[in-house]
């Protein structure tokens, strides 16, 4: 029987050694929020790291004692008897640097100035995140992960781990991801960023000290993003051309159901998410390109990879399309790495990777059962 990991609690790790970022900036100290589920075995060989995507965080599974409705963002995948089985694995979720869920980020107080970092916060890259995640792994005594799992931007971190620390990860599960963003993807991100950057309440990123939040920009950014994470078919199936009141009102208030949905999603997101974090996350997506250092040859970028790979894509995902996953597979094949590739038929677009699907879960479960077998 599969179930929930139950009540969990977040932990905070503080690192006093400075961290240098790709952009040249240095944080003298930083904090990471994380959660763990399951038990680390005696030889510490059963650890799995879950890397989050754009709007994710450390609360991956279970719920909180004081907030039972706050269920982790990947609770359907992770728990006792679930594909990422917490009876077998020690699972770690964390909030990345630059995030807005408790890890050091733009809204944190800069000890040097006593004010929020705001526009001073370093631009973060996937490489920087992996560096910070490795510090957390060291802290928890984990030399080598049984697996690192991530979807979308999280998949990029999982891949980067196998490039930066080939000896520290046995399996990479790279889901709905890409070896670098397409031009069109960068373009979407830039429109989203412009919505935030041009919001009068943004104040160049230092809005905290003005007591305002660029909610209009953040809301628009989320609405745009949300459209691209779904598919045409999924949206048509969910909303069609349905009208709230059943007839045309000839105005700009909410008329179509899809408008209602998007505005609601935008409002909900803008109420809790940090605008600077959104900017940083989209830039980290844009910058990720391991082949940049190898004359755009991805196979060479993967030359030192030792991990076995499971690559999963979704048929209706047009932001991280199956073709992009195939590029990853091809580069791994060139290096004669163990790799399996599954293309899941799904109509939910990029968001498919967060949804329950029989084939998707069977593939994940079967793969991880073998990983668990190798941990003993």
């Amino acid at each position: 029987m599969s179930g929930s990991v139950g009540i969990v609690s977040a932990q905070r790790a503080t690192f006093d050694e400075p961290l240098s970022f790709s952009c040249g900036k240095v944080l003298p100290r930083f904090e990471l929020m994380y959660e763990t589920y399951g038990t680390l075995n005696a030889d510490k060989s059963n650890a799995i790291l879950i890397c989050h995507a754009l709007s994710g965080h450390h609360h991956v599974a279970g719920s909180y004692a004081d907030d039972e409705k706050n269920i982790g963002w990947w609770d359907n995948m992770i728990g006792p008897g679930k594909p990422v089985d917490t009876n077998k694995f020690f699972v770690i979720g964390l909030n990345n640097l630059g995030g807005c869920h408790g890890s050091t980020g733009p809204a944190s107080i800069d000890p040097a100035s006593g004010k929020p970092y705001g526009s001073d916060f370093p631009m973060v890259t996937v490489e920087d995140w992996v560096q910070a995640q490795a510090r957390l792994a060291d802290r928890l005594g984990i030399r080598q992960f049984a697996a690192i799992i991530g979807g979308s931007l999280g998949g990029m971190q999982a891949m980067q781990w196998s490039i930066t620390h080939p000896e520290r990860v046995r399996n990479v599960l790279a889901i709905a991801t890409a070896p670098h963003l397409t031009t069109e993807n960068i373009a979407f991100n830039d429109v989203a960023r412009n919505a935030i950057l041009t919001d009068p309440d943004f104040h160049g990123g230092d809005f905290y000290q003005f007591g305002v939040v660029p909610t209009r920009g953040l809301r628009l950014a989320r609405m745009l993003g949300h459209i691209t994470y779904l598919s045409d078919d999924a949206m048509a199936g969910k909303f069609g051309r349905g009208l709230r009141s059943g007839e045309y009102k000839y105005g700009y208030d909410i008329e179509f159901e899809v408008e209602s949905y998007l505005r609601y999603q935008g409002d909900k997101f803008a109420a809790y998410f940090d605008a600077n974090t959104y900017l940083l996350m989209t830039k980290a997506l844009d910058y990720f390109d391991p082949a940049r250092h190898t004359e755009h040859n991805l196979a060479r970028a993967f030359a030192n990879v030792q991990a076995n790979y499971l690559v999963v894509s979704f048929s209706s995902d047009w932001r991280f399309s199956p073709d992009r996953s195939r590029e990853i597979v091809k580069a791994l094949l060139h290096n004669k790495r163990d790799v399996s590739y599954a293309e899941i038929t799904s109509q939910h677009g990029h968001d498919s990777f967060l949804m329950q699907d029989e084939q998707y879960f069977a593939v994940m479960r079967n793969y991880l059962e073998r990983v668990a077998g190798e941990c003993k």
């Binding site: 091809k330 094949l333 060139h334 399996s340 899941i344 084939q359 593939v363 059962e369």
Partner: protein, 200 residues
Amino acid sequence: MNTSIIQSRPDFAAIAAWIPQGSSVLDLGCGDGSLLRYLRETRDVRGYGVEISDANIAACIANGVNVIQNDLDHGLADFESDSFDFVILSQTLQATRHTEALMKEIVRVGRGGIVSFPNFGYWKNRLQIMQGHMPVSKILPYQWYDTPNVHLCTLNDFELLCDHLGLRILGRHVMNDSGDVNLLPNLRGSVAVYRFKREV
């Protein structure tokens, strides 16, 4: 388990016999990965399978076999030239649409090709046609209206295709239910396995 695989698929034993220890293998239409698993366990073969069916992808992964989900009729673009010692196509040739193109891809990607297929020239098939019906048997279990088999051939036909594509046949193993067939293979054999390579 290994013996049962070989018993249920006699072409597997013939294929395995041609594959030296430690070879690299690409198995096209690999099913649940049984052949690759067998080759890994008995020949220390390193390899990948290509499959289209969801159920088989999940089964291969459960079997610990590397598998790439792909439609063979889209070619082998993910695979580099000369990247495998052998490319195997077992009991799948007859169900491919772009058969000639796939044969070319096999010898591009593999230094050698191994193909097994049901012999349409088998006397029992001929008999059914003489009785006025499309053959239906254990090896060709489909009715004409629901069969995935769109490119059935005889041994002679297959050898003509190899000749046409400039392929050199290095070995042939013909079988029927009672065992190996040497005499009148195109008439008495129900299944054939060929090993071939590009004529350089």
